[in-house]
Symmetry: D2
Subunit: 302 residues, 4 copies
Amino acid sequence: MTACIHDHHAFGPARWGADDRIGAGNLLTPERRLAALAGVSTGEAINLDHIIDANAPRIEPNQTPFVMTLSPRANSVIRRRRAAGATNDAGTTLERIEMTTHVGTHIDALGHASRGNTLYNGLTVDETVDDFGLTELGIEHLPPMITRGVMLDVSGPEGLLRPGDVVTVDDLQRAEEVAKVDVQEGDVVCIHTGWGRWFGVDNARYVSGEPGIDVPAAEWLISKGVVAIAADNPAVEVIPNPRADRMLPVHQHTLTDAGVYLIENLNSAALASRGCHAFCFMLLAARFRGATGCPVRPVALL
Amino acid sequence: MTACIHDHHAFGPARWGADDRIGAGNLLTPERRLAALAGVSTGEAINLDHIIDANAPRIEPNQTPFVMTLSPRANSVIRRRRAAGATNDAGTTLERIEMTTHVGTHIDALGHASRGNTLYNGLTVDETVDDFGLTELGIEHLPPMITRGVMLDVSGPEGLLRPGDVVTVDDLQRAEEVAKVDVQEGDVVCIHTGWGRWFGVDNARYVSGEPGIDVPAAEWLISKGVVAIAADNPAVEVIPNPRADRMLPVHQHTLTDAGVYLIENLNSAALASRGCHAFCFMLLAARFRGATGCPVRPVALL
Amino acid sequence: MTACIHDHHAFGPARWGADDRIGAGNLLTPERRLAALAGVSTGEAINLDHIIDANAPRIEPNQTPFVMTLSPRANSVIRRRRAAGATNDAGTTLERIEMTTHVGTHIDALGHASRGNTLYNGLTVDETVDDFGLTELGIEHLPPMITRGVMLDVSGPEGLLRPGDVVTVDDLQRAEEVAKVDVQEGDVVCIHTGWGRWFGVDNARYVSGEPGIDVPAAEWLISKGVVAIAADNPAVEVIPNPRADRMLPVHQHTLTDAGVYLIENLNSAALASRGCHAFCFMLLAARFRGATGCPVRPVALL
Amino acid sequence: MTACIHDHHAFGPARWGADDRIGAGNLLTPERRLAALAGVSTGEAINLDHIIDANAPRIEPNQTPFVMTLSPRANSVIRRRRAAGATNDAGTTLERIEMTTHVGTHIDALGHASRGNTLYNGLTVDETVDDFGLTELGIEHLPPMITRGVMLDVSGPEGLLRPGDVVTVDDLQRAEEVAKVDVQEGDVVCIHTGWGRWFGVDNARYVSGEPGIDVPAAEWLISKGVVAIAADNPAVEVIPNPRADRMLPVHQHTLTDAGVYLIENLNSAALASRGCHAFCFMLLAARFRGATGCPVRPVALL
C-alpha cells in the first residue's frame, strides 16, 4: 500500500539537538505568532473543540472513562461555614473529575507514542514512562501554540469520509488548491474529514474506525514543517490501517520520529461550513506535569 | 471595617438580561480582542501559570487531592497489540487523573460561588447544583478570553504581603499610577502580591492565609468593568477576612453578584520582575460541561 | 396494585431507640452467631459474590464507572529503590481504583435511601448527607454479619424470572415450603430469581429491569425480623415497579423505614443449583467511613 | 545482621504445583475452618480493622490518597425522579471513591511484591503486571480466610516498640510462651507491636518507620506454615531495615517466595488489651479482579 522509506535521522537530534524535548514546538517562534496575529481582521473566535462530558467518545480500553460529580456543594459548605462562625453564607461548589487527558478534543504530548522502546529524540520508554508521569516529554513542555492554522477539507462531495478511507497526499494537495493556501513551516494543519459529526452523536460509530491520513500524508505534512496535525476524528490517522499488521503508524512517524504534535477530536465543522482555510490558531494546554496529553479548547481567530 | 452597601441589582438581570449565563464574559468582544492584539509587538509569550502536579497546594478539604498515574503504558500496550497481530510495536501511554478543576492555576466558573441559595443572575443552588455538574453557569459557557491584561503590583517595598494584609482601593490606584495604566472595561486585572512565591515551595504557608483584596477593592474593580480578577494567591481575596464572621465575601461579590471571574494561583512573578503592566491576556479554558472551574494556562503576549 | 398501609412507627425509634444507627443490625447478636455456626458441618465455603472488574454492570447514571489501573508498578519502583541505594530489587505494584461502593456484589448502608428528606430513624438528608460522606448511617456502623442465611428459590420452573415479574409473599412462602425452612428473626434471606445469570454476561439486559420483590413481600420479610434481604439482581426489588409512579419503594421500606439491609448483585447460582437453603451467612464489609454501601464478598458456610 | 540463606525451591512449584496461584491459601481447608470455629465459645466478634477515611495514613508516593465524596445525592435524585414521574420521593445517595487497595487495614495479594522480575511461583512482572490489573495473582484468588488466629504480643514492657526495632524469632517465641499457644500450620499470626496506636492519630510518625519482623522471623513463621502474617504497622516488617541496602525484604520472602500473605495496619489493640491470644480469624476480601490487595475488615471471633 505504501512504500514508506522513512529516514529517522532527518528528525530528532539532528534537527533541534540531543536535549530537545519539544520537537516541532521549536517552530512556535515569536515571529510566527506575530505573523499569525497579523492576519486577524475581525477578532471573531471560532471554537474548535467539543464540550467534554461523560458522553465523550473513547477508544476502549486505553482511554478510560470520564467521570465528574459535584462535591463539595454550596449547601453543605454553607452549613460547615456557619458552624465555623461565618454569617455571610458563602457557598462554594467544586467537582471531582476522573479522566485521562485524551478525553474530548485534546493534544498528544510527544511522549504519548513510542516505536518499541523508543520515544522522541532517543529517549526510552523504560526510563521515561514512570509511575506518576513521564519524566520527559510531558505536555508541560509544550509552548503556547499561537500560529497559523490551515484547514484542509478532504470530506469530499458527500462531506464525509468513511472508516478506512485514506486521506492521501493528493487529497491534501487538492484541498490546498481549493483553499488557496500552501502548507508552510510552523502551521497547524486541521484536516476536515466530516467524521467529527458523530462525536457525541453516535459514539459507537465514531470510534469503530475512522477516515484519516496514513504514513505518506503524514510524511508530506512533516516535510512541510508543520507543528501539529489536527483532525476531526479520534486518532488523526486512518483506522483500520490499510496494512493489517500496522496499528497507529502515523502516531509513530509524527510524535515519535518527527516531534510533530497530534490534535484529536477536533471540531472543524464551523471552519468547514464557513470555508475558513487560514486563520490564527490558538491552543493553550494546561501544564499537567508528565501528562501524555491535555484536553484543550483550541480556537481559530479570524 | 467596610460599610459595604452593595446594590445587587446593578448587575445580573439588569445588565445582560435574565437569560445571561456568562456575566462579564459579555465584555469579551471581537473589538476588545482586536484592541488587545494590536498592542502585541514582540510576540513573546509569558506563562502566567504554575505547572500542575501532586505537589500543587490545596485548600483542604474542599480542594481535593490531585492524583496522576500512568496507565496504560507503552510496554503493555505493545504486548497486547502484538497479540492482536500488529508488527510495528506502536506503544501508547496515557494517564489517569483524579482532580478538582480548582487545582493549580485555574479560573472559577460563575456557578462556583453562592450567596446562600442564590447563584449568579438569580439562579439557585437547589436547581443548578446537580449531581453530575452545574446545569447552568458551568465553565463551558466561558468565551475565549483574549483581552487586555493589566498587572498591578501591590507587593510593596518588600515584594511580599502577608496573610490578612488587605489590598485596598488605594493600593490598586497607586499601582495603577506606577504602572501608568488605567483599569478599563474588559480588562483582566492581575494583582501581584508576592504571595505566589510559596506556591509549591511552602504549601502549608501558601494556604494558611493570604494577602488579597477585600470587598471594597473588588467593588472598585467591578465598577471599572473588569472581566476577571486574577491574583498570585489561592483565593484572590484576603484570608482571613478582616471581619471574623465573613468567609470568601469577595467570591460572592464578584462571581455571584457581578458575574466577574476569578483566576487563582496566578504566576505573576515574571510580569512583576520585568515590570510588564499591560499586555494581551489569553486564557482558553477546556470546556468541561458543568464544571465549576478549569485548570488553565494563561499567557501574557507582549 | 398493592394497598400498602405501612406503619412507620413500628420501626425506628420505637424499636431500638432514638440513637440507633444500625437498625436490624441489632439482631446480629453473639447468640445468633453461635447458632449459625452450630449448623456448620463440612466447613465448605460457597462464594456468594461476583468478581468485580470494569465489566461489572451498573445502573447509570447513579452507579458510576469502575476504573482500575496498576500504578505504581514493580519495574518503576525497583528503579527508584535502586537509585535510593537498595540492592534487593523489591518491586511492589499497587493500583488505583475509581468506584462507587455499589459496584458488583454489595451491601447498602442504611443511609443509602431516603423517603424525601427522611432517612432511617428520623435523621434527615439535609443534615446527614455531607460532602465527604454520611455523618450518620454510613457502612462503618454495620456489625460483622455472621448469622443464618436462608435461600429462597423463586426462579420457577424455567429457573428464571423476567423484568417486572413480582416476587410475592406467596412465592416466598412456597419457596419456604420447598426449602423446609421458616424465615426467622435475624436471618439474611437470599432470594434467587435466576436473573443473576446475566451479570457480566449481558449487562444491558441485566440492568434493563429485573424481577424482584415489591413492597408487600418486603413488608412480610421485615415482619419476620430479617437482618437483610439479598437477591441476585441489581436492586433486590422489581423494576419497573408495577405502579408506574413508584421508583425503588422497597428501598424506602427496608432501609429507610425498617432499618433492614439490602444486598444486591448476589451470586446465588451455586446455592440454587445445589439446593442449599440454610447455611451460615458471613459478610464482613470494609468500614469506609460515611460510605453508602460496600462491595463485599459474602460466603455461605456449610 | 542476618545471614539469610533462603531456599527458594522449598516453596512455590515444589509445594503446590506449577499452576498454583494462591500459595498458603491452600492451607485454608474446610477442616481448618471447622477447627477454628470449634473454638468459638461466646460468639463475640472483635474488629481487627481501622475505619477507613481520608485520614488513613499512607506511605507516599506508592500509596496514593483516599478520596471519597458523595454523589449522586438524595435531593438531586429525587428531583430527577419527580421529573420522570415518580411520586414516592425515593432518594438514593452514593459516593465515589478514589483509592488504592492498600488503604487502611488491608491484605496484600501475592502479586503485590516481586524479587526483580520474579513474582510468586515463577511468574514474571513483565507478563503479569498489566495495565488494568494483575493477570495472575490478584486478590480475587484469595479463598475466604476462616482459620485460627494467634496474637503474639511483642510490644514489651512499655507496650510499644519503636521504628527500626526488630521483632526477632526469640521475641516471637517468648510471646508464644506467654500466650501459651504454638504457631501452627494454617494460622494467621497477628503481631502486636503497639505501633498501631499512631494510626490516624499521628500519621507522620506512623509512616516514618516502624517496628516489625525482619527476614529471620518471617522465615521462622513461614516454616511453621502460617497462611498470613498480620501486624499493627504499615508494612508488617521493620523499617528501616537493619541492612541499609535492603528495602521490604520481608515482602519478598513472604509474598514472592513463600506465597504467604501479609495483612497490614491491623488494629490489634483490643486483642492485646484483653489478652486474646487464640481465636477464630475471619477475613473476606472483596474480589477485585487483578487487584494487588484489598481493604478488609477482619474480625476475631471468640
